[in-house]
Structures are given as C-alpha cells and as structure tokens.
Symmetry: none
Subunit: 206 residues, 4 copies
C-alpha cells in the first residue's frame, strides 16, 4: 500500500482539471449524444490513455465532472421555522433540477440503475444529502413542536423531493426561465400540501 503509491511519475493534477473542464464544455455543446471520450480528450489536449487511467466509462467521467460543478444542497439550512426550512430546501432542489448540470446528474443517476452499482448511484449523489438534510429539518421541527413526532420523515422527504422533481418535469422548456426567476411561487403549493399533510402549523402568509 505505502510503496506502490509513490513509485514512478506522479499524475499531473492539472490534467484532471483540464479533462473535467473539457467534459462539461463538450457536454454543453453536443449533449449526451455526441459526447465522446475521444472528443473530450481532443478538446482537453490530452491523450486517451490519461483519460482512461482516471475514468473507465463515459458515465463516470460525466458524473464526476458535473458533481464538481453543482450539488443539490450547497450548504446547511436553518431559517428558524420548519416552513422556512422546507421552502429553502425545495427552492434549492428546484434550482438544481432546472440547472442543466443538475438535471444531467439526475438523468445519469437514474440511468445508472440499469447498469448496477458500478456507476455512482442516485442515492449516494443526490438522494442521501437530501435525506440527511430532511432528517435534520424535521427533527428540529419536532423539537420545536411544530410537527407531531408521529410523522414519517422518510415519506415526507420522498414527497418533497418527488413533488419538486415532477413539477420540473411537467414544466415546458419555455417556462424554465420564469421558474428560475421566481422559484418561491413554484415551490409554495407543494410545500403547503406537504406541511398540511404532516400536520404542521402553517403561517397564514401566501
């Protein structure tokens, strides 16, 4: 373990960066169709060997590249109320799914189910961070007595996540800019339904 890591020339860390940059550019330009290892290597000014040394499949490369660029939940959320927290999380999710990089991450993760565990799966990349955040939020809500402690947090999380995702899916492409401009309006109905569903007190504010 200790010996084989330091032998020989070390991998140039700059190459990693150049490849990821090229991968994102290439993907943005051509979409998934037309996204090729060959093209990425070409654009990065890198040999194919250097590429395959680090990523063995297109999917892995694209996933890693996209992850480096965006993440479903960037930081901790704590607004002081359950409603505020849920709105904040839902807003971040909405923005994530409306962003091409985020959407693609989701897409590839869903695809990955068909190929088994060799691909970074949905849970690790997207669902788990959300679930963890959701846990924290609802536990704080229970502690504040905003919501009964009988609530099934997992179901609440699934509904929140799924509701936002479906909302984005149902949006026509030309509605995307509007949704990004006023995320709160798109998110509120779902949040209201969810909070009512778990028996939480909701503010009167629209």
């Amino acid at each position: 373990m200790s010996e084989s890591e330091t032998r020989g020339r070390r991998r140039d860390p700059d190459i990693e960066r150049r490849i990821i940059r090229a991968a994102i550019d290439e993907y943005a330009r051509t979409g998934w169709a037309g996204f090729s290892m060959e093209g990425v290597a070409r654009k990065a000014g890198v040999g194919k060997a250097a590429l395959y040394l680090r990523w063995s499949t297109k999917e892995q490369l694209l996933l890693d590249s996209l992850d480096a660029q965006s993440s479903p939940l960037t930081e901790d959320v704590d607004t002081g109320s359950l409603e505020g927290d849920v709105i904040a999380v839902a807003t971040e999710l909405l923005q994530y799914f409306l962003d091409p990089a985020g959407w693609t991450s989701l897409r590839i993760s869903i695809d990955a189910r068909a190929f088994g565990p060799q691909l970074g799966n949905l849970n690790a990349r997207i669902a788990e961070p959300i679930a963890a955040m959701s846990d924290t939020i609802f536990q704080r809500g229970i502690a504040r007595a905003e919501v009964p402690d009988t609530v099934c947090i997992r179901t609440a999380t699934e509904t929140l996540f799924g509701g936002v995702l479906m909302h984005v899916l149902a949006l026509a492409p030309d509605e995307h800019p509007a949704a990004l401009a006023r995320p709160r309006e798109h998110v509120l109905p779902i949040v209201k339904l969810l909070l009512a569903g778990v028996g939480a007190q909701v503010s009167a504010t629209p």
Copy 2:
C-alpha cells in the same frame, strides 16, 4: 395523397411486431449500452431498411416498443371513494415503475428532454394520462364533498406521482419483489400524507 398511399407493395404488418419484440429482447439483454439498430435488425431477421423506414432513431424505436408493452394506467379507476381511487392509481404507478419496461419508458422520457421535442416526451406518454386520471378522480372527490373545491389538483397530482417515483428510486433492488408483492403497504403512507395535505377525510383503516 390518394396515389402514394396505395401504390406498390404494402408494408408487412408482421415485421413491425418482430422488430418490437426483438427491440425489447435486445434491450433486456444488453441494456441501453449495446442496444443498436443493427442488433435489433439482426435479431428480428429484418433488413435495416425496413427498420429505418419506420423509426428514424433508436430512442423512438425503443419508446414505441416499450409503450406497446406497458402503460402507466391500464384502465379507468372508480372505487367509489377518493381514498380508494388514489390508492388504486398509486398502486398502478408503483407497479409501472417497478416493471423494467415501465422504468425504461420513464428513463428514456427523462433522457428525451435533453434532445428536445423530436423525441416523444414525458408528458405525452406518461404524465398526461396520469394527469387526466387525477383530474377525474379529484373532481369526483369534490362532487362527493370529500375534499374542498379549493384544492390545486395539479399540485396533488405532481405530489402523488413524484412521491411514488421517489419511493421506487429509494428502494434497493433487492426490495423490489417485496414491494411488488405488497404494493398497498408501500403506497399507503404517501397516500395518507397526500390526502391529509389536500384536507380530505380519511378512513380510520390502516
């Protein structure tokens, strides 16, 4: 219009079937990677011409093939109560997403967003039938006074659809058989949350 339709040899309707069958077989065997027009034609014992004459892209072919095999909602639902209807729809959705063909349809539809409108989109194939069904169900619920008429049906539909989808996404592959065996148990928590969220009366039955 009148001349070009009837002249010449007519298309063999059996070929359509053979191709679709081969496409599903091929997809099941190799997954999306390794799914090729060439391979389908080979397996169907058909020339590539016959294939391209009917479908111009892989995606189209696979979508049509999968549609021919399964559909999110097979028939009308009317159990007499809103709760019963929602449970029935949710169950069908759960089964649809747990079925490889259904899952793949979803996957491709999601993929299709990246390619623009040339691919049959999610709405037409999956979302719209569900939305229509949801409309009917909730309108009957309003008529029966089970639910207030201020409810946003679209949000309810999105939450139902999304909740079930996320639930399936969160399931580990080895939990799939159990979920297919007892769909009601997996669906109930989501349905309860949803109905409470829209302010419906819910039966006391677990």
Copy 3:
C-alpha cells in the same frame, strides 16, 4: 454457392483500385515503418471497413498492391540459345530485385515464412514462376543438345536465382543506378559460372 454471391450491394471495383494506388503511394512515401491501414484508408478516401473487407492484414494488402505493379518475369523468354535465355532471365531478376516494389515483395515473402502459410508465400509469388521458366529454358537447352540431360535443373535454378539475389544484396545503394543501366555486365559473371557449372557450351563473347 450461386445464391450468396449476388445478395446485397456489390463491391465497388473502383475502390479496390483506389486502395491499391494509395497503398503504393503510402509505402513509397513512408516505407514499411509508417505504413498503416489507417493512412491508406485516409489517402484512398475510403472507410476502414472497406479496407478490412478485402484485406485482413497489412502484409496481404501490400503484397497484393505490389504484385499488381510488378512481377518477376513479365513474359516468355525465348532467344534461341540457352545462354541468351539465361541472360534474359537473370536480367529480369536483377531488375526486379533492384526495383523497390520487387524488393519489397521479396522482403515480405521472406517475412511471411515466420507467420506460416496464411501469408501468400514466396514460392507461389516469386519462386514458382521463375522455376517454371527455368524448367522450360533448360529443357529447350537439352533438346538443342546445348547441355547434357544429366543436369539437375532445380539446382541450376536455385543457383541462378540465388546468385542474382546475392549480387543485389551485396551492391551498395549508390551502385544501384549503375546496375540498372548496365544489367548485362552484372549478370554475365554469374551466368558464365552457372553455364560452365552445368556443362554447357558457352559463346566466346565476353
């Protein structure tokens, strides 16, 4: 037999010609090192498939291409005397080995021995036509009583062929043009030795 030959689109005979032309050009430009299937296809304006459909190895392709261009013995030789015939054959051989295409054919054929019979072998391409010609010449010589009928034709052929080959091998590259200009001078000593060796009458002319 009769059916499978006519199915499908027929191979374009012009492609064969374009490839062979490109192969010779490429070989002349870069030599054996740097002679690549990829390069030939590129220069011929042809897909690699079309190339591999016809030739499965570089060696085969180059051999066929060179054969199309040159042959050790272009036509029948019959000067009326054994000595004249032998000189004529030896001259043709000398020119063949001094020509890059001929030399390469020899080279590849010799190489081919190491790979076994899958490569067109030396005998079929070079040795056999020469042996056949040699047979004819000496038989005519015996009929004319120029040479005793006890002579071993095979040994004579080997000696003639080998003598000329060795002479070319021993020539420095800068002597090649001179040898091409006055082949007779280079060939005569070998022919004299050979004819004396088989007990033939030789003219007094130098």
Copy 4:
C-alpha cells in the same frame, strides 16, 4: 570524458544479459509482429529507460540479441582441399539459415535495407564474414592449383551463398529436420555445380 565515466551508479552488466535473453524469448514467442520494447522490458524486469539507453530501436536490439546467439561461420575452415572447404562452409550456411535465429538475422538485415544505413546492414553482419572466408578458401585453392587464378572469387561467393539460401527458401517447413539431419546431401549438388563452374577438379566421390 574522464569525469562522466566514473560518476554515479555504474551500469549493471547483468541488465544487458537479461534484456537480450528476454528479447530472444519474446521474439521466439510472438514473432516480429508483437515484438515490442515494452514487452521485452516487462519480461526482463527492467525499466524502459534502461532499454532505450542501450538500444534506440527495436531492430537494433533484436539484431544484437540474435548476433549474440549465432553467427554464420563459427570458426576457420581448413580441410585441406577446396572441395572439402566449400562443403564445410556451405554446410555451416545451411545450418545457419535453418536455425530460427540465423534466419531471423537474415530477415532483419534484408529489412534493414529499407530503413537506410542506420541499421547494421547485411554486409557487416553476414556477407562480410562469408566473403572473407570465401577469399581465404579460394586463395588456398589457387595456391594448391586446384582452381585457375582467373576465377572471380566474388562471383563464386555470391553463387555459393545464394545457392544455399535459395535452397533453404525452397524447402517446405516439414523438410527442415531432414535437411538438418543430412546437410551434406542438400549441399552437394550446389557445391558440385559451383566447382565445375569455376573450373575446379572435383573428386569422384558422390
């Protein structure tokens, strides 16, 4: 000059041997195709640097390796008669060409002509030792008055060398063992022809 020779680590003389051994093994196993610097270094347990430090091309490496193993004429020949000497030399040549290492040396030397003078050429490695030996033999023959002093030694050498080479070329692979077992039989006809050709007295022995 004096400083750089003794500074630093001295070259390990064993490495040279390991590389040569590995090169021959590798060549024997895979033939020229598939003979790679990389493979030799791997098999010798040596870095590529150590290899390129000593040989700059594959051809050089292989030639040197083969030379280290076999040589066309191992020692001086002096049987007391021209005929005996020529038979001895021809026999050694026959064995050399029938040996894979010898044959390969010839093959590469012929190949080398195409690459220009940077490769050790045929003359230096094979032809010159033979020519030198031939000179000696025939000069002794002239001194013994076995052969007229008008003979062209160079032509005689070329014919002997070429005759044996062609004989080996013409042999089918399955005849090789027989030729190795009784070289004299294969060599005699050529020697007889050659000696008669140069006007030498030949013994009556078959």
